[in-house]
Symmetry: C2
Subunit: 463 residues, 2 copies
């Protein structure tokens, strides 16, 4: 049977249809092409390398270890890193304009601000260099059949095209058309949760040809119910993203109200963005919604698998959306090795392995949605980061901050969460024993003064 | 403007389209007809009153206070209650055949076992008696437009029909076609969660023309990872429902294995069901899936609202699925009074009021999914029920068991849950003080023996 299988594999190269030419789709095309499959990539929009205006989605993204590992696998890491801007720390802007950095990890550890459109273009170009890859733009998936693998695409001119594949890889984002077929089947768990916040992007231009703020930081203005962040771009601008409940966005309806609002909460940014730009950019686009999507399983039989946002859209507050999607490609690739490219075994194993990790990062992103806005500027948050860093320094293999595990390692997300809970207990124990060291001398002193009391105390403590 | 509104209302009766002719749809048609709307009910299947075989869904259901209140509103309570069988207590069957009753509430409080098909027929007939109601069977909703209220139905002969309504009420169950339009819109929260268990219905025939077991109980065989329940029917049969993980259902493939399985876990039921019937019925239908559905909001603009399973399918372990759906109708009706039938105000208010309650009962049902299988036969469960009943006896207005609030009152579900958490703390306090009463004499005695020790103890307790 092994012979039969390998014989049939040699007789015809299997066709893998990657649906979606965004970041994860384009990268996945490289992964499958590298394995020798006949790869067909289908993207509903036109080729963004030829498009004049690229609609929607955030302008820049934080690339970290998991994403880099995936890029490395297809030989793109160095190139992409060279086009990114390192961010070594968060830079917290308080209301009075004071700026305080909180490092992301140890010295030398950083995340990268990368341009989404540029990265997407590089990945498409890389995919195209494989001779066994065919790119199909202006192909919108209309319907597909899970039993036969037959897909129907519609084009802008109204024409339809039918394509059959051995494996359909759904990388078509949070509102995946591939996933719709999953939803029609029984025993498919699915959830989509919108948060009450929307986001809006504003541009901070260069000042005298230089960055308006220190470039190697992810700037944060935490303001409890809302917040703003800013990431640097290669053209020396910053892209500021304002996160705020939709109802608060709706309250601001005039240019004067925009300025009033920024004057109250982000006064240091008005001279940097410029009052005119601010008033114009604020009304350019309405605030955009953010959704968290979870589902299970990720596959149907041996014909279809979901990856990236199609499988697990996360809110953007841990900077792991793209990184998790890129890691999906590595994990799938590792399982392909393990099971000799037998889709019947690979697909269920991918679901089994990857679902708990993706659900964990979705939950963490939701947790950080609160933490980033509300706790980042509290003394308790800074104290905990401080204690964690001290513990990490003395016990580098035992105590690893959660952010470090998530951002600078490939520790499985769900294991990072487990370990984090465990470490929180350890930290409490350590804090307890530190407090103990402070209390004991006091107790000892009172014992010297009143010796019979000390005897009882010891007895009660021992019991 | 009030004059204008009432003038326009008089000029034309508004059309309410109720999509779905199941329990909640048929009842809702009565509610809207009673208010004087032009009601059109659409059901995809043929009229079950004329059908020979009624497919799918459970055979009988537990009707309790909330459902009865809704039936009362349309004058059907007495009739339906007369056709139901009162169940005063759970009857727990242990492995050795021992039966122990656990009452549902105080003396005189009971839930009713009612026949789903019969109840549905009665409700359809009741809806039809209103001259302003039109029934449309064999009308399957294909698509509808949230802006215009235009719906397209397909019929078995392939013909299509378009109908426009002022309000579309989606009562078309857990896999609602109306809800699909909601899923296409932004900021709609949705989750569907399948549990690992399936269910299978088995019939326990009468013995010598009489019920094979005591009829006025809901019989339960809790077996940790799985369980069986049995509800009485008017024809003196019991409908037994076996709940078990799908993988366990799949392990049983022959008649002998069925008998072996029942011999091991439900030995007392084999002579009652009959080995032959058991072997036949087990393979009649595959085990059915159970899904929990939550969503938010329940409405779109002033044109559409979801009720019943379409808005909140729950797992069947609290016996509240139908009751919650029926209560939806009362809640909506109450809000219609409050806002003078102005859909623009009624629909958002309905979402605001009802979502937290439906989510609470969905969570409770999921909680009971574990409790019924695993805890019902534990000493701790029985002890807690016992303590609750004692507390309820002495403080009938302060301590009300959760089951009582859910089943025998119209306390809002989410308030019942809140109160339950609060009561659990009270119970702990009471238990603590009872323990305290037992401990103090011991302490006092040791104090008498060693008086100086007692002084210190008191000091440390006071501090």
């Amino acid at each position: 049977s092994t012979m039969e299988r390998s014989a049939s594999r040699q007789s015809r190269k299997k066709v893998v249809a990657v649906v979606g030419g965004g970041l994860v789709g384009a990268l996945n095309a490289c992964f499958f092409a590298k394995r020798g499959f006949d790869v067909e990539l289908f993207e509903s929009r036109e080729d963004i390398r030829r498009a004049k205006i690229v609609k929607g989605r955030s302008i820049n993204l934080a690339l970290s270890h998991r994403g880099r590992q995936a890029l490395k696998h297809v030989g793109l890491e160095e190139k992409i890193v060279a086009q990114g801007i390192p961010m070594h720390a968060r830079m917290i802007h308080s209301l009075d304009g004071k700026q305080s950095p909180i490092p992301y990890g140890r010295k030398g550890q950083y995340i990268l601000s990368v341009d989404r459109a540029n990265l997407n273009k590089e990945l498409l170009t890389a995919a195209e260099t494989y001779p066994n890859t065919k790119m199909n733009f202006d192909h919108k998936l209309q319907d597909w059949n899970a039993e036969t693998g037959l897909m129907t695409f519609v084009r802008l001119d109204g024409s339809k095209e039918q394509v059959k594949a051995d494996l359909i890889v759904g990388c078509d984002g949070a509102f995946s058309a591939v996933r719709k077929q999953f939803l029609r089947r029984s025993r498919f768990d699915y959830s989509q949760t919108y948060i009450p916040h929307g986001y809006m992007e504003l541009t901070m231009p260069p000042i005298n040809g230089e960055f308006a703020m220190k470039p190697n930081y992810l700037h944060i203005w935490p303001r409890n119910t809302f917040m703003m962040i800013a990431l640097p771009n290669l053209d020396k601008t910053f892209t500021c993203t304002l996160f705020m409940p939709f109802e608060d966005f709706e309250k601001i309806t005039t240019g004067d109200e925009v300025i009033e609002f920024f004057q109250k909460y982000f006064p240091d940014t008005i001279p940097l963005i410029g009052a005119d730009t601010l008033q114009r950019d604020y009304f350019r686009l309405p605030a955009q919604a953010m959704v968290s999507v979870k589902c299970n399983p990720y596959h149907i039989g041996d014909t279809c698998v979901l990856m990236g946002d199609a499988a697990h859209a996360v809110v953007p507050f841990y900077g792991q959306g793209m990184n998790a999607g890129f890691e999906d490609c590595i994990v799938f690739d590792e399982i392909m090795d393990q099971f000799n490219e037998d889709f019947r075994a690979v697909l269920p194993e991918y679901t089994r392995v990857r679902v708990p990790d993706d659900h964990a990062i979705a939950d963490l992103a939701m947790y950080n949605y609160i933490e980033m806005r509300a706790h980042v500027n509290s003394k308790w948050f800074i104290f905990r980061k401080y204690v964690d860093n001290i513990l990490h320094f003395f016990m580098p293999k035992t105590i690893i901050p959660l952010y470090t595990m998530v951002t600078f390692t490939r520790t499985r997300y769900h294991e990072a969460v487990k370990r984090w809970h465990w470490q929180n207990k350890i930290r409490l124990l350590v804090l307890g024993s530190v407090l103990n060291c402070l209390i004991w001398p006091v107790l000892a002193a009172s014992a010297l003064i009143d010796s019979w009391t000390a005897g009882i105390f010891t007895a009660s403590l021992v019991n």
